[in-house]
């Protein structure tokens, strides 16, 4: 993978300061001390402790091991670089914020100067003193803190001092666990995973890498450098790691026991830290070599190769994924398992896996992929979960997903793995129960539930943050601000407010998922509103979510973000029917924006009393308008009726008038006659 390396030295605009103490000079790179995924720069301590320091500036598109940084900060032990400080800094050459890790600079430099270079081999009588003891101390120290190194390899070893008396392990925190290790340095199951999907592993995995490192140090060259990843895996499966790399008299007699112990391919039988410690104290242990997998009487021909064991076949099929479906679906595999391997149990399991996979998906492509993935798990349950181009341990799934997100790679395979319950099937295939497997089962069940919830705040983005506790928010709006804590979110949005188009909402699927995962309060109401199809409700939901964060976490004023939100509030203002209320809001909103207080803005816009008054007034107005319309219609369409009415009433009035006149006249005449 190409190193994007935005951390490379650029125009020097002065040193970058980490935590007001460490000055990192972008103009002074230290290429010899750089890690594959991080560039080293000269660093000075303002407090002038007199130490020679270096700072590793991490890549922006690679998840870092923030947990390991936190655990190892300040730990001083023989055999490991002293991690002094870490944090996020503004990095001018990349015009963004990046993670910087400050280490004490190893005085003796790197053991190997580069790939394919030879170095002075370490004499066999000094290996224990110079290599094994210090590195075991480092691994033990890390193990007590719950961290594995997972970057134990020849090119990550440094001479701690100029006299070259003691080796120490280089950085392990700037890349995912095992990411830069050649496949040879990884145990067979992890070697089959993609580099980003190897997982944290155990101290035994570090010891495995230490075993190969010792063999290389004895040889004066990297014994694995001519091997391709596929060749390594095939060789380890066909023979064993020890037979592949440590045979042929490469290991002196006094170290054979140690090397056989740590290079044991069966994780259960592999030596752990305690075993190595006992061995150093003089106790002799006899490493048990793992039983090789059952070998078939006749080979299975796949893509021109003759394969005799199930793990080898599973690996070959995972490499040639598209060709794997045909022999599985046409029954050749099942026949080979029954007749060639004489393993009816495996054949039944394969048949069952095919049947379930076929029933699980209606899409032919997905169905085929799911079938292959399930069959590979049956063939080699210890191997990583494999699904098309994704090969990952359950432990490394989160990091692999993070890498895919950060590097803009397709996520379909990851989503299908989750939605099709492949992790659950893998756990079931292990044939035993352990708390760790139980944890995976429940974790991936939760992830599936999140994935299948299509709302903002859930989906695959939420899976990403659920499974990567320390991952920074990947929203394109604030990715460059490197926000890892919920408390940093609003200040970051505030900072970017002046650089973005205000028509873009300050809320997207990543930010919503980040808040949902990191903010552990009940925000169901806000998220329900945020996902409302009505733009006004959605805008209220967005505002309320951000307002509640400011209310709880601060800072007290967010002028930039308030202004940005102000441009998004038109739907809310327009949700009020009364034009007078709208005018009031349009007058008051700028005043609150100037104060930078989102809760106040929210209270103004979601005032229930005002809203109810507005709704009631509008309902009355509507009824009145409707009544007026009906009256108008009646008045205008009733002209003929009105004329008829006038005719009738007019004639009646004439008759009455006439009768009245007659009666009055007669009465007058009668009165006049009488008197």
């Amino acid at each position: 993978m190409a190193n994007q390396a935005p951390a490379t030295a650029g125009t020097a605009s002065g040193p970058v300061v980490l935590r007001d103490r460490f000055e990192i000079n972008p103009a002074k790179p230290l290429p010899d001390l750089s890690s594959p995924q991080a560039t080293a720069f000269h660093c000075e301590d303002r407090r002038g402790a007199g130490r020679s320091l270096m700072a590793l500036i991490c890549r922006p598109d690679m998840p870092v091991r923030a947990g390991a940084m936190r655990s190892l900060k300040g730990v001083q032990a023989a055999g490991m670089l002293h991690l002094i400080e870490y944090g996020v800094v503004d990095w001018p050459p990349a015009k963004r914020r990046l993670v910087a890790v400050v280490y004490e600079r190893p005085a003796g430099g790197r053991v190997t100067k580069g790939p394919n270079t030879k170095f002075d081999p370490i004499p066999e009588n000094q290996v224990v003193k110079k290599v094994i003891k210090p590195l075991l101390t480092a691994m033990t120290e890390m193990s007590t803190r719950g961290v594995t190194h997972r970057a134990v390899r020849l090119d990550n070893l440094f001479w701690f001092d100029t006299t070259r008396e003691r080796l120490c392990l280089g950085d392990c925190s700037t890349a995912p666990p095992g990411y830069d290790n050649p496949a040879a340095y990884e145990p067979p199951d992890m070697a089959q995973a993609n580099p980003e999907g190897r997982g944290q592993g155990y101290p035994k995995d570090d010891l495995y890498a230490l075993g190969l490192t010792v063999v290389s140090l004895l040889s004066g060259r990297d014994i694995t450098e001519t091997w391709s990843n596929d060749d390594v895996v095939r060789a380890k499966m066909a023979q064993s790691t020890y037979a592949t790399f440590a045979a042929e008299g490469r290991v002196p007699l006094n170290l054979i026991e140690f090397v056989r112990g740590v290079l044991c391919d069966d994780p259960k039988e592999r030596w752990d830290l305690e075993d190595v410690d006992l061995w150093l104290q003089g106790r002799r242990l006899t490493p048990i070599q793992p039983k090789p997998p059952k070998r078939a009487q006749r080979p299975f021909k796949f893509e021109g190769r003759e394969i005799f064991t199930m793990p080898e076949l599973a690996h070959a099929m995972s490499v040639k994924w598209d060709a794997a479906a045909a022999p599985i679906l046409d029954g050749r595999l099942e026949v080979w398992l029954r007749r060639g391997l004489e393993d009816n149990e495996a054949a039944d399991a394969v048949a069952n896996a095919i049947r379930i996979a076929q029933a699980q998906s209606g899409d032919p492509r997905q169905s085929s992929d799911l079938t292959v993935a399930r069959v590979l798990i049956v063939l080699d349950p210890k191997a990583p979960v494999r699904y098309r181009e994704v090969r990952t341990t359950l432990d490394g799934f989160g990091t692999a997903l993070a890498c895919a997100f950060m590097q803009g790679r397709p996520l379909t395979s990851y989503a299908e793995m989750l939605s099709r319950d492949l992790p659950k099937f893998w756990v079931e295939a292990q044939g035993l129960y352990s708390p760790e497997l139980g944890h995976y089962e429940s974790q991936f069940k939760d992830l599936k539930a999140n994935l299948t919830t299509p709302i903002m705040g859930a989906g695959i983005e939420r899976c990403l943050y659920e499974i990567n506790e320390n991952l920074h928010c990947q929203s394109p709006l604030i990715e460059g601000e490197y926000v890892t804590e919920i408390r940093e979110l609003l200040p970051a949005l505030d900072r970017v407010a002046s650089k973005v188009d205000v028509k873009i909402k300050p809320m997207d699927r990543h930010i919503a998922a980040f808040i949902n995962v990191k903010w552990e309060r009940d925000t169901k109401v806000q998220f329900r509103a945020l996902n409302d199809p009505d733009p006004q409700r959605a805008a209220i939901g967005m505002l309320s979510l951000l307002a509640i964060l400011q209310w709880r976490l601060g800072p007290p004023a967010l002028h930039g973000l308030a202004g940005w939100l102000g441009a998004q509030l038109q739907p809310i203002v327009e949700s009020f029917h009364g034009r007078a209320r709208r005018r009031d809001l349009e007058r008051e909103i700028p005043q609150i924006i100037r104060k930078g207080m989102l809760p106040e803005l929210y209270n103004l816009l979601d005032n229930q009393e005002e809203r109810q008054k507005d709704a009631e007034g509008f309902a009355w107005a509507r009824a009145e308008y409707s009544a007026a319309t009906q009256q108008l219609k009646a008045l205008e369409t009733g002209r003929v009726a009105r004329d008829e009415q006038a005719e009738v009433q007019g004639r009646r009035a004439a008759a009455m008038t006439s009768m009245a006149v007659a009666i009055v006249s007669i009465a007058i005449i009668l009165v006049m006659r009488m008197f």
Binding site: S626, Q649, G650, A654, T657, A662
Partner: protein
């Protein structure tokens, strides 16, 4: 039931026919009595109330307002002369004397003519009055609708199912 109705209906017919007939007989007897005892009055009214009889015949309306209007004023015009007749020599020559006076006829028929005029003109006046009232009402309603549109926007008319009116435009006259 139907049978019962059928049996009842022919039984009523003989009873109504004698009543109509007795009414007619009563009218004829009354007319004969009038001719016998009130001949001058009958003569005066028969001639002076001619416009009323014409109006009753001409007006085909159910309420016969034309006859009533003309008749009322016509009778008011006849009344002074009828009092003259009853107050003086209540005989046919006196009645004929009254009827032969041109001034008398002008008064009587003028009153009837005024009745006609009243009958003809009042509906028009009434229509004009009602029209004026409804125009003012329409104008008031439109003005209120305009006010509502300005205050609440075009959505206030939305339930009508027609295009939203422009709040700044006048409500069009229909």
């Amino acid at each position: 039931m139907a049978k019962k109705k059928a049996t009842l209906t022919p039984a009523r017919k003989p009873s109504s026919a004698p009543s109509n007939m007795s009414l007619n007989i009563l009218i004829v007897i009354a007319g004969l009595v009038m001719v016998a005892f009130f001949m001058p009055t009958l003569l005066l009214l028969a001639f002076a109330m001619l416009p009323s009889f014409v109006a009753l015949v001409v007006d085909r309306g159910p309420q016969r307002y034309g006859g009533v209007t003309v008749g009322g004023l016509n009778f008011a015009g006849v009344m002074p002369y009828l009092m003259d007749l009853w107050g003086g020599a209540n005989d046919v020559p006196h009645a004929l004397t009254i009827l032969s006076d041109v001034f008398t006829l002008v008064v009587i028929f003028g009153a009837a003519a005024f009745g006609w005029l009243l009958y003809s003109a009042t509906p028009g006046v009434m229509a004009a009055f009602i029209g004026l009232t409804s125009t003012r009402r329409i104008s008031a309603l439109r003005s209120r609708q305009q006010e509502l549109l300005r205050e609440w926007g075009p959505e206030v008319a939305q339930q009508e199912g027609v295009d939203l009116p422009d709040p700044d435009a006048e409500v069009p006259a229909r």
